[in-house]
């Protein structure tokens, strides 16, 4: 018997019992829908996080110093000297702490970062208006501040902050600029912070030790070289590899991708369980169907149907049912992804691979769970089958 013929017979058997076929499919529909929706959601999350990591700055290397013995950081000179290491194009040391800010009646708390003029370029975070810190500000320990957009908004509202005097931990500072809004990054808020000259920060926070240094590599290719040379320098200073940590953006990106990838797989896996349950539903109905059609099977056998004819017939039937369910589930998943995309800024999309995989998987489930019932049908004794009912 030809495949096309078997396929036609399956469709006619399916249409003969529409409600039952639909209910049988429902399990697969829900299964494929949740697989598709959750995987595309996971993939959306991955691309969102990737975007955020890339927004930290390009070719970025982050050095964190935990210190050894009495030394818990680098001096400004040591930090700046890293700029001349091979592969390094710019260095932005940072000294951070919490501080309170006061302007007129407003009183807020936010992080305070002492930075150098290269900070904006290295961290890819530009000035929205006003000016950024310059070398002279550091040389003279100027009491000037560049506000993050959120701090500016909270302290000044609609007022123009440029030139205004604020108090940081009680000391008078002049606002010289405001940073662009950047949104939340990984583990820190970019907008809820204030930048002041690093030298001023050392005095204000009573801390000379610089423990965070952002380093920009010359190019994506030179990131590894820069990491090696910076590590070599730090090893010379601390004589202990545990005194510092060097992370680069590419590593971070691959870590993040690994985590979100695992998460996506897990979500898909959980959803796949419901697909499996759908498969069991199909097996159940196919078994009922074999019993109901025992006499028909007997007739077919009397007319010369071979074991494989009956086997294919029922396998194709369960594959058609679950494949149709898979197609409907896929379309619903696509619809859900489109809706999420339209009504939120979550970038979901059903990729071609996911679509093909979901369909192939649902047809596979149909075949797998159809094997037993189909075998049962194909093995029926023709005389006994003809005597049924």
């Amino acid at each position: 018997m030809g495949l096309l013929q078997a396929f036609r017979l399956s469709v006619s058997a399916m249409l003969a019992k529409k409600l039952r076929s639909f209910l049988t499919m429902l399990g697969v529909i829900i299964g494929v829908f949740s697989v598709v929706a959750l995987i595309s959601l996971g993939q959306g999350a991955t691309s969102l996080v990737t975007e955020q990591v890339q927004a930290i700055g390009s070719n970025l290397i982050v050095v964190n110093i935990t210190g050894r013995g009495a030394r818990s950081g680098l001096t400004l000179e040591e930090a700046l000297a890293l700029a001349s290491r091979p592969g390094v194009s710019a260095v932005a040391p940072m000294l951070s702490g919490q501080a309170t800010y006061k302007y007129q009646a407003q009183n807020i708390s936010a992080s305070l970062s002492g930075v150098t003029p290269d900070y904006n370029a290295v961290r890819n975070h530009n000035i929205a208006y006003g000016r950024s810190l310059v070398a002279a500000d550091l040389d003279h320990r100027q009491e000037v501040a560049v506000l993050g957009s959120e701090v500016a908004q909270e302290l000044f509202g609609r007022e123009n902050p440029l030139g205004a005097n604020i108090r940081i931990n009680g000391n008078a500072f002049t606002v010289i600029g405001v940073l662009e809004e950047k949104g939340d990054g990984i583990g820190e808020s970019n907008d809820n912070r204030v930048l002041i000259p690093l030298t001023t920060a050392q005095r204000l926070l009573r801390n000379m030790n610089i423990s965070t240094i952002y380093i920009q590599a010359e190019s994506p290719e030179s990131v590894d070289r820069a990491v090696v040379s910076v590590e070599a320098s730090l090893k010379q200073i601390f004589r202990d590899e545990d005194a510092f940590g060097v992370f680069n953006q590419a590593d971070l990106l691959s870590t993040v991708n690994q985590i979100t990838g695992t998460l996506t797989l897990m979500l898909g896996g959980i959803a796949a369980i419901s697909l499996l349950v759908g498969g069991i539903g199909i097996m159940n109905i196919m078994l009922v169907s074999v019993t109901e059609r025992t006499r028909e099977i007997g007739i077919c056998k009397a007319l010369g149907a071979k074991k494989k004819d009956i086997l294919y017939q029922f396998l194709i039937e369960s594959a058609v049912i679950s494949g149709t369910g898979g197609l409907i589930g896929l379309m619903l998943g696509q619809l859900a992804a489109t809706l999420v995309n339209r009504f939120s800024d979550f970038p979901t999309a059903v990729t071609f691979q996911v679509a093909v995989l979901a369909l192939a998987f649902s047809v596979g489930v149909g075949i797998f769970f159809g094997i037993w019932p189909a075998n049962k049908a194909a093995d029926l004794n023709p005389v006994e089958a003809l005597r049924a009912q």
Partner: protein, 224 residues
């Protein structure tokens, strides 16, 4: 040619053995019309199933057109049913969801013939039984006699040499029964071997030979 030699069929029901066929020897030559009669439960259908390769005997030899049936595999048995035998049942046994035409095409589907040729043969077979106007009717839309004629068309569409009919008129009134018998005698006159089980002496009379089965044995000294 059909050659049965000391055929036995024994069913085991727990401790008890039921000898449905108890040593049947019978030769049916090509082109012959044979009526098998006998009381209910005597083993007629059991014999028919064995002749039709639906079932295999517990012991004995059965040679169908030169081949020993007990040596055939399941697939070969299916093939024998498809090419050597045409079945007609008391209860018609048509597929309920398929049209008359599709029902008649079924044996040819299992033979792997392409759709166009199947259709051609099926239309011709239905014409032969006088159902040209009912090609696209489903069994529920046909009378009993018409359904049985569709079943006859299905039995002859594959051009099998042997037609086996198990009480073909058993469910029909006398007029429809006569129509069905007309078609069957016509087939016989065209050279088909016809084996017919019946309770009706008038139907049996239409066959040139009659055998009677009682308790799984052929009655000796009958019109053999």
């Amino acid at each position: 040619m059909i050659q049965l030699e000391n055929i036995r069929k024994t069913y085991k029901m727990g401790e008890i053995e039921v000898h449905a066929l108890d040593g049947i020897s019978l030769v049916i030559s090509q082109g012959e019309a044979l009526a098998i009669v006998g009381p209910s439960g005597s083993g007629k259908s059991t014999l028919m199933n064995i002749i039709g390769c639906l079932d295999t005997p517990t012991s004995g030899n059965y040679i169908l057109n030169g081949r020993e049936v007990s040596r055939l595999s399941k697939n070969e048995l299916a093939e024998a049913r498809n090419t050597q035998i045409g079945f007609i049942f008391q209860s018609y046994n048509l597929l309920p969801r398929q049209t008359a035409l599709e029902n008649v095409e079924l044996p040819l589907i299992y033979r792997g013939l392409p759709g166009k040729i199947r259709r051609e043969y099926a239309v011709a077979a239905l014409e032969m039984v006088g159902l040209t106007g009912r090609l696209h009717h489903r069994p529920t839309e046909l009378s009993g006699g018409q359904q049985q004629r569709v079943a006859i068309a299905r039995a002859l569409v594959g051009d099998s040499p042997v037609i086996l009919a198990d009480e073909p008129t058993g469910n029909l009134d006398s007029a429809s029964g006569r129509e069905v018998m007309n078609v069957l005698t016509k087939l016989h006159s065209q050279g088909k071997t016809l084996v017919l089980i019946t309770h009706d002496p008038n139907v049996a009379k239409l066959c040139e030979r009659q055998v009677r089965i009682i308790d799984g044995r052929l009655e000796t000294g009958g019109a053999n």
